[in-house]
Structure formats: structure tokens, C-alpha cells
């Protein structure tokens, strides 16, 4: 693990942390200018913490990480030094919102991804922050409004029709269940025929703004944005947000990096709340009618595919998801066949271990999430559908388009660049 261990454990306050990472970021940018990066860039991993009331206190947070052999050593309120009991310091962990924490680290990118993946996969109380292509679509609109049009940005589009292949793929290893490597299976690409889109686009914001919408209409994988750079308003470079909540600081300012994290986290936290408010199903007393009535409240999450799946793809998707312990959607259940391309699954989100009821067809998916099931389940589902099944899929919670929910979640969130 290569990181500035001697510095991190000397940090005594949030202010010192920001100063430390600010200095670190300036050094790395100078090295990047000279094309001689000596140490890894500062990276952040945003994580959602579940676990009810326990997760809302510092003690609870320490207990949740402690169960996964990570000791959180308090620095000040909601800020900790995170130490892996086996491998040593992992970084600094800060609670940015009641349900979202950020791990700041200077580990190498691969090491950090591996460390985080191991942590998340083994804990039903931790999950990635899932930014779907639809969410990125709204964030991209924000970038165009908040940044000057001559600034450069970077978008990455990733779509891989893993269920549309000419031969059965092997069961994914635990390591690649959720976050496949961009470079994985390159040698196989010429052998297994399936649609796979993964490319990055770097250009001026104004140029992309002019072309992207038209291009998306022609070629739907361009809806599957998996990375987006927020250009820094205070200097060169920007902050690269990934679909699993990883964020790389490619600027000279950690303060600016953290402000962008807070900006996106505020939006995401609102989105989680509104998803749960609308989608949670439960039986409630009917307040308006003070009789002995109960009513069912909640809205289904509906995903509609732009193009229907072929029967082969549908069958392979169902088989690869529910006949394998490890599957990309991290779902468990016994499908009940109701037709050639229709199944019902009264199953479980295998990551958060929460019930989830699904109707899956060639045209889309309907999900019922019982009261208490985390909204992250919905965002992971939408992200994975765009990534692996239909990049242009549309999603709704009840009658409300998912995209509009993201837009509403972003309304009024301050783009506050001086926050600490």
C-alpha cells in the first residue's frame, strides 16, 4: 500500500486534513505537468452507510466498520483515520451527510478499488453510491450550466451487453461482480461477439453540448454515461465522478474537490430520500378517513427498455442472474415463469439483504420495494440495467420519470465552493 502514512496519522482536525490534501494535490499537479507522477492522486470513495439509527452516530459508524476489521480512529466529529486491521492505514473517512461517507485516500487506484470492493462486498451495511447513466445525464446538464463552455470536460460511456453473446460467459468472480475493469477481457473481445461500448470523450463543454443529444438519439449506448468530469472553477483540471461513487481529484485544490463531493452528495441524498418516500410499499392507517381502514401506499419502480430483449437474451439474463450465486445484479430468488419472456421473482437484494419483488419481461422490469428496503437498491438496478441490458432504458417511480426525480433533487442545491 503506497500512501503518505506518516502524514495521515498526524492530522488532528478537518482544517489540517484539507491543508494536507491541498498541498498534496498541488504537488501531484506539478508532477502531472512534468509527466512524472511520483505518487498517486487523491481519490475519494463515496459510500452509503445503512444500519438504521446505529449508522447515524459516530460510535455506530465505528461499530459498522469495526465489524469489517476496519478501525476508525476519531480525529474530530464525523472525521476518522481509517485503519485496516491487516493492511494498515486506508485513508481518512468523513461523514458528509447522515447516510453518506467519503473515504479520502492516496492509495494507488487499483489498490483502493480492490480494498473498497472487499469491504463493500462483505458488508450489508455498506454500499457504493450508485450514479446511473440517467443521473449522470442530469449532472451533465448541471456541468453545462455551471461551467464556461470553453472548458474541457471528459465523459466516459460504458455499455456491455453481457447477456447478448454467442456463447455462455463464465460466472463472474466476486471481484468483478459490481465493478468490472475497463480493460478486462480485451483479448476475448475478438472472440466473443456482443455489443460493447466503452470510450471516453474529451472536448470543450460547448462542443459536446451541441452534439451529444443528437448522437444519443442515433446511438443509444451514449446514454450510458459512466464517468463525468466536473471542471474545476478555481483552476485547471476537474473532478472525475465514476458510476460507483469513486471520485478522482485532478485539480490543485482538495478544498474544491470536497466542495464538489458535497454538491453531488446533497443531490444523491435527496434522490435516495425521494425514491424511498415514493417507492416504499406499506400498509398505513388512512389518516383522512378516521375509520378502521388501512391503505396500501407506494409506487412501483418501472424500467422500460428502449428495444425489447430477444428471447435468448432474456433467458440468458434470467439464468445468469438467478441460477448463479454470484451475479452482476446481486439478486437472489426463484423465478416463477409466466410466459416465454416474463417471470416474477419474490426475491432479495443479495447485497443489502433486503426483500425486493420483481416482474421481469423482454420490455422492462417492475420492482416493488417494501418499506425499509434502501433506495440504493433502485439506483443499483437502474445503473446495471443501463450498463448491461439497455443503455437507453427509461425509468419511472410510479408515474414520475426517474430523470425528473434527479432534476428535482438537484433543484436548489447550492454549488457552494467555499464550504468546509
Amino acid at each position: 500500500m503506497t500512501m503518505a502514512e506518516t502524514h495521515l496519522h498526524e492530522i488532528r482536525s478537518r482544517h489540517q486534513m484539507i491543508r494536507f490534501f491541498d498541498g498534496y494535490a498541488i504537488e501531484r499537479m506539478e508532477e502531472l505537468d512534468e509527466r512524472r507522477l511520483k505518487r498517486p492522486l487523491v481519490k475519494t470513495q463515496l459510500l452509503e452507510v445503512l444500519g438504521g439509527n446505529e449508522a447515524h452516530t459516530d460510535e455506530g459508524l465505528r461499530a459498522i466498520f469495526g465489524r469489517r476489521q476496519v478501525t476508525l480512529m476519531p480525529i474530530e466529529t464525523s472525521l476518522f483515520l481509517a485503519v485496516d486491521d491487516q493492511t494498515g492505514q486506508a485513508g481518512l473517512l468523513e461523514r458528509l451527510h447522515p447516510r453518506i461517507v467519503a473515504l479520502y485516500s492516496t492509495m494507488k487506484s487499483d489498490d483502493m478499488q480492490q480494498w473498497v470492493r472487499r469491504l463493500v462486498m462483505r458488508s450489508p451495511e455498506l454500499d457504493y453510491v450508485w450514479l446511473s447513466g440517467l443521473t449522470f445525464g442530469v449532472l451533465w446538464q448541471l456541468v453545462t450550466r455551471l461551467s464556461r463552455s470553453h472548458r474541457f470536460t471528459r465523459l466516459v460511456f460504458t455499455h456491455e451487453s453481457v447477456f447478448d453473446i454467442d456463447q455462455a460467459a463464465s460466472e463472474p468472480e466476486e471481484e468483478e461482480e459490481e465493478t468490472p475493469q475497463d480493460s478486462a477481457e480485451e483479448e476475448m473481445a475478438d472472440v466473443i461477439e456482443r455489443r460493447a461500448t466503452s470510450f471516453r470523450l474529451v472536448d470543450r463543454i460547448g462542443v459536446i453540448q451541441q452534439k451529444l443529444e443528437a448522437l444519443q438519439k442515433i446511438y443509444s449506448p451514449l446514454y450510458a454515461i459512466s464517468q463525468l468530469r466536473f471542471p474545476s472553477p478555481v483552476g485547471r483540471g476537474g473532478h472525475d465522478f465514476y458510476d460507483n461513487g469513486r471520485v478522482t481529484n485532478k485539480t490543485e485544490s482538495f478544498r474544491d474537490h470536497r466542495s464538489h463531493l458535497l454538491f453531488v452528495v446533497r443531490i444523491y441524498e435527496r434522490l435516495l430520500r425521494s425514491t424511498e418516500e415514493q417507492a416504499w410499499y406499506s400498509i398505513q392507517d388512512s389518516v383522512g378517513v378516521p375509520g378502521q381502514f388501512r391503505k396500501i401506499v407506494g409506487s412501483p419502480v418501472v424500467v422500460r427498455f428502449r428495444e425489447p430483449l430477444s428471447r435468448d437474451v432474456f433467458d440468458y439474463w434470467i439464468g445468469a442472474t438467478f441460477e448463479r450465486k454470484r451475479n452482476r445484479f446481486r439478486l437472489w430468488g426463484h423465478p416463477i415463469r409466466l410466459g416465454p419472456t416474463k417471470v416474477h421473482v419474490y426475491g432479495v437484494d443479495r447485497h443489502l439483504w433486503q426483500p425486493l419483488f420483481l416482474e421481469l419481461t423482454a420490455n422492462g422490469c417492475t420492482a416493488i420495494i417494501p418499506n425499509g428496503t434502501c433506495g440504493n437498491t433502485v439506483h443499483r438496478l437502474v445503473t446495471n440495467i443501463q450498463r448491461y441490458l439497455d443503455p437507453g432504458a427509461e425509468a419511472f417511480v410510479g408515474d414520475k420519470p426517474y430523470k425528473r426525480m434527479v432534476e428535482e433533487s438537484a433543484q436548489g442545491v447550492p454549488y457552494d465552493l467555499g464550504s468546509e
Binding site: V289, L338, K342, A362, I368, P370
Partner: protein, 335 residues
């Protein structure tokens, strides 16, 4: 009861009513009707009550697989529902007068039964009217299946009451050779008359839901610890809390028997793979011991591989000694 009806934001909210609560009023009506030589049934309850709270509209909805005539036994129930949906609706529902601004009895039948049912209801209404019994208005709604969708067909009154366009309103897409049923909120209700085939399907769904409840709880646990399941908790989790509202003691007991049957089977499957992990403790429920993360993984594997498909869904579970070891009261008090 399924999801599709709620997929779009219907203008009326569905109120699930295990029973109607001012039965004294209905009993009086029934007594009166019986004195007048009219066959009516007490203790009726519609399948659901739809309400729009903003203007206090109530629709008493009753679904039937086929139409019926004025001399059939179903007509007795229909007479009661016509009275329930009438001017005394507020009283029957246990509400203050004025809290029901408008009410309606809505029968839902397959399209083939629509034209036959309306004259029956007219005849029953006239019969009650002649005996000076106030009845409510009624609407016959029908379900129409085409190759591409499922629609609800409304008559003129239903159209204006529910704010739906007159004629067919599609609410569900349909695929060829595909069962159009939606996901179920309440998978199984022993009080509802169903074909044997339908009962088997609904029990399967109930068992799948119980399995997902158990698997989720074990997966979410942090070993070392014990996870304890009581039948009430399992049934409520599997039915969005509706089991707790069940007032029919026989039905509640039947549901607990099904739960015990399922838990007995899954316990056997778990103990076969991970011996001495799961046991039934009288008065508490089923205890799963998770001594370590490894044991938790093994238990989850055993539970996940267990398939409800293997269970005998046609045979009624036997009344066992375990029945006596749990509270045998109504659903809300069951252990």
C-alpha cells in the same frame, strides 16, 4: 391483489378492508330484509374499498369470476352490498354522516359477464326498493383481454365516478402466450373463493415471500448471534403487514399452519446441510444460530437452494402439536 392497478396514479386510493365495522347497522337491514322475505347475507365485506379522500368518494369493489342471476346465492351477497353502498354507507363504514359524499357499488367481472350482470343488479335493486330499503348506485366494470393489453371497460356511471374515459381503458400490456397476472401484494387469502389451481399458485407466491423474508433476515445478521422468527413476524413481512389485520380466526390459524409447514420444511433443509443450526422453541418461534460468518454463509446457501416448488402445495397442512404451542388467537395476537 396486484400491482398493476396502482402502476399509474389512479385517482382513487385503494383501501384494504378486512371487514366493515358498523355491522350493527347492516344486521338491522338484514333482519328487516329477512322479515320482508328477501334473502340477504350478514357479515358481507367487499373485496376492497376505493376512496378519493379529497372529495370523500367511496367505491365498494367486488370482483367476480362470472356473472350471476337474481336467484343465485351470490345474489344474497349482492343485495347486502347494494345496501352497504347506499345512503347508509357512512354508518356501515363507521364514519360520521357527511364523511361520505358519494358512494357506489362497483362489480368487476370478465367482459363476457358484463351484459348479464347489469340486469341482475337492476332487478335486485328494484326488489329492495319495493321493500323500502335504500340501495346505492352500482356500476359494472369488466376486464377485457386482448392479445396486446388488458383493459377495464366502464359503463357511463363508472366512467363519471372514477374519472375514466368511457369504453376501454388499457392498464396493462400483454405478451402472447403469457399469463398477464401482476405481482401480488397479498399473495394468498384463504377467505377468497379460488380455483384449486389458483390456490396452488398463490400459496407458492406466499411461500416464496416467506422464504425471501427469512433469507433477508439471515443475510442481514451480524454473527455471532441468533435470529428468531415468529410466525406473526414472517406472515406480516410477507404480506406488507396485512396479516396483522386479519380478524377471521380460522383464516389466521390456517395462515399460521401454512407458515409452520413452510418453516418446518426449510428447517429440515438447513439442518441437513448445517446440522443443529435451526430449531423450534415453543412460545418463541424458529431460532437460527449463526455462530460465525462461515456458518452464516452455509445457512444462507442451504436456505437459498431450498425451493418452494418442491413443496406439496395441494395438501392442507395437518394440525400438529405445534399449533397448540403458539397463541391461537386472531392474527394480531399470534406469536
Amino acid at each position: 391483489m396486484g400491482t398493476e392497478s396502482l402502476r399509474s396514479s389512479t385517482s382513487m386510493a385503494l383501501q384494504y378492508t378486512p371487514s366493515l365495522h358498523c355491522s350493527r347497522c347492516l344486521l338491522t337491514c338484514v333482519w328487516w330484509a329477512q322479515q320482508a322475505g328477501i334473502a340477504m347475507r350478514d357479515g358481507v365485506r367487499p373485496d376492497a374499498v376505493l376512496t378519493r379522500e379529497s372529495d370523500r368518494k367511496f367505491a365498494f369493489a367486488e370482483c367476480k369470476a362470472r356473472s350471476f342471476g337474481p336467484t343465485s346465492s351470490t345474489a344474497e351477497q349482492a343485495r347486502s352490498l347494494l345496501v352497504v353502498a347506499g345512503p347508509r354507507a357512512a354508518e356501515v363504514l363507521g364514519l360520521a354522516s357527511g364523511q361520505v359524499a358519494d358512494s357506489l357499488l362497483a362489480f368487476v367481472v370478465p367482459e363476457a359477464g358484463r351484459e348479464l350482470l347489469a340486469p341482475t343488479l337492476v332487478s335486485l335493486g328494484k326488489e329492495l326498493d319495493e321493500k323500502r330499503m335504500s340501495v346505492g348506485r352500482f356500476s359494472v366494470l369488466s376486464l377485457v383481454l386482448t392479445d396486446t393489453d388488458v383493459s377495464i371497460m366502464t359503463d357511463e356511471l363508472g366512467s363519471s365516478f372514477f374519472g375514466l374515459p368511457s369504453g376501454a381503458s388499457p392498464f396493462m400490456e400483454r405478451e402472447p402466450d403469457t399469463d398477464p397476472r401482476p405481482l401480488y401484494f397479498i399473495p394468498y387469502d384463504p377467505d377468497i373463493g379460488q380455483s384449486e389451481e389458483e390456490k396452488v399458485f398463490c400459496k407458492r407466491v406466499l411461500f416464496e415471500r416467506m422464504q425471501s423474508t427469512v433469507v433477508a433476515a439471515v443475510g442481514h445478521a451480524n454473527p455471532p448471534m441468533d435470529v428468531v422468527f415468529a410466525s406473526q413476524k414472517i406472515l406480516n413481512s410477507s404480506m406488507f403487514g396485512v396479516y396483522g389485520q386479519w380478524e377471521n380466526r380460522d383464516s389466521a390459524r390456517h395462515m399460521r399452519q401454512l407458515c409452520r409447514h413452510f418453516m418446518g420444511e426449510i428447517m429440515q433443509a438447513v439442518n441437513k446441510e448445517v446440522p443443529n443450526t435451526m430449531l423450534f422453541e415453543p412460545g418463541k418461534g424458529w431460532k437460527v444460530t449463526l455462530g460465525s460468518p462461515q456458518q452464516q454463509d452455509n445457512v444462507l446457501d442451504a436456505m437459498s437452494h431450498f425451493s418452494c416448488d418442491r413443496l406439496d402445495l395441494r395438501t392442507q397442512p395437518d394440525h400438529t402439536l405445534l399449533d397448540a404451542l403458539e397463541d391461537d388467537g386472531p392474527a394480531s395476537g399470534a406469536g
